[in-house]
Amino acid sequence: MSGAVALKAAYIVTWVIQLGYLGYLLGRYRKVREEMKDLKRSS
């Protein structure tokens, strides 16, 4: 692996990990909000 490829790979992987985690959090957040709305409706 050349230096330039390694540099690009490292930066892309960093962003994929961080944005992937943010996406995972927002997905869970949306799910819990819907669950809260359902609970309010049923109570």
Partner: protein, 229 residues
């Protein structure tokens, strides 16, 4: 309150962009390694951010054991999870840098091994939180977090205490170590940007934890009402 958060999001995105610019454009090219050395500007700030988050987890765990407050427990979970994310970045970017420079992806030297152990400790903490049932889960995980934090200074000092393949420290490494001042800007700007991003992620994760606790309590309440009828 919402507008303050959006301003903070904007500042974080701007800092991340500026950090990237500092790392790829402003920082000089290292003479021996060339451009691959620029991985350092993401690798090191990620490691420092992970240490900071594990420290927050350590303090929040102590506070939880002392006060038994749900808020400090939620801060502990949030900081551990985000810390694992940043520690993962460290463990992935390190080998990507090592392959062209050392010719190998990984070696079991003190710094690399203790970092992997650190990651495993906090992954264990998260697994315990996720799958253990019962009223003592929070207490057990707080105890694990306090003992687990012992590895953070060991990781930090590993390259000072032992002869390792990992490069020598940039802070307090003695004569001949350290960084060019122009390189410092890239490191510090990226650390500031990653710290802001980490704070944002911890805030979202904290809010999520509290909401999940509310939903769980509501489900338990509904089950009790259903059972008593």
């Amino acid at each position: 309150m919402k507008s303050v958060i959006w301003i903070f999001v904007f500042i974080t995105v701007a800092l991340l962009g500026f950090g990237l610019y500092q790392a790829l454009v402003v920082a000089p090219t290292e003479q021996t390694m060339g451009d691959v050395q620029r991985i350092f500007y993401y690798h090191v700030p990620s490691a420092w951010t992970a240490f900071l988050l594990f420290f927050v987890n350590f303090i929040a765990s102590i506070v939880y054991l002392w006060k038994r407050s749900a808020g400090s427990d939620a801060i502990a979970v949030a900081s551990a999870e985000v810390g694992v994310v940043f520690c993962t970045v460290v463990l992935v970017t390190g080998p990507i840098w090592a392959r062209p420079v050392w010719g190998i992806w990984w070696t079991w030297d003190a710094r690399l091994t203790t970092t992997l152990v650190l990651w495993l400790i906090y992954v264990s903490y998260l697994v315990l939180r996720r799958f253990a049932a019962g009223s003592q889960t929070q207490v057990l995980s707080a105890a694990l977090a306090i003992f687990g934090f012992v590895d953070v200074p060991i990781v930090f000092m590993a390259i000072r205490w032992f002869r390792t393949q990992h490069p020598s420290p940039v802070i307090g490494g003695g004569e001949g170590s350290g960084l060019d001042p122009t390189m410092w800007h890239a490191v510090l700007w990226n650390w500031l940007a990653f710290s802001c991003l980490a704070l944002l992620l911890v805030m979202v994760r904290y809010r999520l934890q509290r909401m999940e606790e509310t939903v769980e309590a509501a489900h338990a309440q509904l089950a009790l009402q259903g059972g008593s009828r």
